[in-house]
Symmetry: none
């Protein structure tokens, strides 16, 4: 009994002391209950070195995975911990929290679905961000909030920052899924499997809200400097056309942006190489 309480004291002490080590940490199975999606959703989080032995608040980057992956994609394949640790330690990125939500759901990825029956985007803005900012020590203002992502998550980054320019200081779509057309039949078929009927008008309406090239083309003048953009897509990527056209549309419409085409395809090697630059880019805003 005495031993037990001794041990407890020591464990607590050890906890305090070990708090001093405070290396960076990845948690890849965080959860929150979503009313919007009517299910439990997962996310992974990167807490920078020192997070646990300070009361400091940090900027946050939301980092979105691609189709077929889940919240562990950037952890396992993207090696976010090693890359972020290095970027922060060497000073080309400022210390930040990185949140990697799970969007391994159904077709529409990070978007609200056509008939409003599965609203991931609503979940993201009304549940996930508030939960993260309540649970972790975030600097909960636009200047300290960025979004980045690859492929389907690149599309997500684009649409999120286009729909909510008041939420993000910077957006970094990598190898982004920029559609240059929509296969309506696939949507109709997908809804059939849900036992639902979707009309062409509903699809057209939905597409109008998610047509990235169009949204860029018609961006109101006062929104053009609201978000800093960093766009990167390899020369061997199958998504070359949408990204090339995106660059053209943004240049023609005078929307400031950085654009890169490096050597490579739609691969994790490409995205691992992109991540330090992305972190550096968003840090330029985080630290002014």
């Amino acid at each position: 009994m005495k031993t037990h309480s001794f041990m407890l004291t020591f464990l607590l002490l050890l906890g305090t002391v070990s708090g001093l080590t405070a290396q960076s940490k990845i948690l890849e199975n965080c959860t929150l209950n979503s009313n919007v999606l009517n299910s439990e959703r997962k996310f992974a989080i990167y807490l920078p070195e020192g997070y646990e032995n300070t009361d400091r608040h940090y900027p946050v980057m939301y980092l979105l995975h691609g189709m077929g992956d889940d919240q562990t994609g950037w952890v396992q394949f993207g090696e976010v911990q090693r890359i972020a640790d290095t970027a922060i330690r060497e000073g080309y990125a400022s210390p930040m929290i990185i949140v990697m939500p799970d969007a391994n759901t159904v077709q529409p990825g990070y978007f609200n679905d056509v008939k409003g029956d599965f609203n991931y985007e609503d979940f993201f803005f009304t549940e996930l961000i508030p939960h993260v900012e309540k649970t972790y020590r975030c600097r909960a203002e636009k200047q300290y909030r960025a979004v980045a992502g690859l492929s389907m998550g690149g599309g997500g980054s684009l649409v999120y920052a286009l729909h909510h320019p008041e939420m993000f200081c910077a957006a970094c779509p990598l190898s982004a899924a920029v559609r240059t057309g929509l296969n309506k039949q696939s949507v109709i078929d997908r809804y059939k499997t849900k036992g639902m009927v979707v009309t062409e008008e509903e699809i057209d309406e939905w597409y109008k809200k998610h047509d990235i090239l169009k949204l860029m083309e018609t961006m109101p003048e006062e929104q053009k400097n609201a978000v800093r953009w960093y766009i990167d897509c390899g020369d061997d990527d199958f998504l070359y056309e949408g990204n090339s056209l995106l660059h053209i549309v943004m240049r023609k419409n005078n929307i400031p942006h950085e654009y890169r085409v490096r050597d490579g395809g739609h691969t994790w090697q490409y995205w691992r190489e992109a991540l330090p630059e992305v972190m550096n880019f968003v840090s330029q805003t985080f630290r002014r």
Copy 2:
């Protein structure tokens, strides 16, 4: 008995571990109650690597933010932790505590206000410094106490070291707000919003006590070597004139000082680049 030796092993292990692990720490929401200002005031603090597993006492540098920021400015934008860690680890700065008070208050910044109704300078000297030196293991003597700051905080560093040369071994104003004139009407207007009346005579009296160029010009001979000065202001900074004149006045009046003009403006990049040199400069006194 067995328990005892088990515990002993544990303790030794714990000692070893803790001996290895005391990284530097930032606390950005420390508070103290100020009677002078009749409110709770915040400050951030940097505790160097090893602080928590030793009983050693350290020199202290007070590091002041600029207008519009608060005690987190040097933490978030100034990246004081990474820069100080590097400076200390590489040996061009000695281990020190860095205190960053919040002066995100009203117009007069770090000074006592004209009518003595808001006396930040009094708070700083009679409450903040004693609180810090009681709470943290500081070497509480002039030789181990320095003050530095940027913009409004550069003005603060100058006035503090001019008013209290017995308190600081070194002062490092960066891009300092050195006035070359005073807009009396703005002071009158500011007091109007407080529902108070201030006379031109009161303003003149106040200005005399805070006119940096004049204070330098009339510095008594015996004070000229009391504080070591390091002054730095970028060639693109809008505060170029006051700083250039400050250099001229100090040279003409034989007040020893270092003066730098590097490439840059009124930006955090400039101040992040200045900080290693500032830490090196104050360390020359801290370690003789």
Copy 3:
């Protein structure tokens, strides 16, 4: 006899010394008489380290300047000597001769003019290349011949390698002038100043032969692997559209190529940074 042995010693000594001393060399005012252009034409040449104390034959890269410059552009602004010396010495490029012809002539730059009255392209292939390969120790085969250039010279590189895939193993257009349309009136006006009349039909005919996007789009299958392409254009370059479309057309038409978009505009800094990569790229063919 004694003289003889003295001389021998001298010769050996000379050999040793000269063996040590053949640095790379730039000649920027070489000339040849052109019958095609009915004038003397200039070119600059880079001879790699060691050229002058060996009988070795070298691969050749033709490196074309942009509008407004002349054969000295890559020498003075492009710093070809320092960059090539470094690339070769560090091994990412193989030793090569670099030829920089002067095309500071009239509007059509490196092309034959519309009415065939000023045929720079003919000069290049029937006079310049033969002259160079006769005068300098070149490896006079396609495998050892590359073409690169910037802006107008990027357009030249493209058209030369499209018209003469049997001549070049690699082509590297930088910030290339890829037209997305033609101002016929400007051609008509230009000919008016020559005192000549040009018809719209003649212009259309000419454009068909120089329409880079069209030539890529209609490239015969068997030509698609004839030339290795390296295309690079900065994200801030005013020629972004043509280059983005070129990438799309080549991808759609399955023409293998490297494509890069780096940070920068239509500047010599951009091209100086591109040159090492260009030399590395052509060297992959030069040394298999």
Copy 4:
């Protein structure tokens, strides 16, 4: 006899071959006959590595010494050869010719004297520059011509570029003699030793033409971007006041310029440390 001619052939051959080494070269006793100054004048010249085995033309920087030195000052104390070799080899400066004229004459240094009896400035522009550009392979245009100098030569650089903005793309006065007043008696006395009388009016007239602060203050709008300025003066230099005021006047008058105050005094160590930056600065124009 036969031996002799053999040897001659070999010597010539050796000369040719050794020409291949073409390291940089300093000549410190070049001369030209000046009609303007009615005497033989000296200058030193730096020819960059490779100058002697090419026909290339180079940009030129005129580099002026200070009072008490002569054309060998930058060679012996400034170590121009080692510093320039390094700057060019490492690529932060482009290959250039550096001309160091001798102005070790009488009081007025690089200027025309008050009564027009000793016109060094006229000599510089009408005799020295033409001689240099005829004798050495210079790119004889404003874009490729810069002027720099220290102390009295800093004053020279300022006045030359102010009087002849059409001649220099860049001017780099180091620790420049910027007067903030003129001792008329010393001019009168100096003329007395020449056996001449100078009036106060003549001195006033002369001063108006050489008053650097005034010339900056009254610079016509269209001249403000004609010359790129790099101004550098140490914080311990006795010329601190004129240089600080120069920075203020140029800022107030919107004349773009770089300004540096580094740690140091009026010493050759300071100027040796400045030279790489000066060469880098002028090279930004030389290579666009």
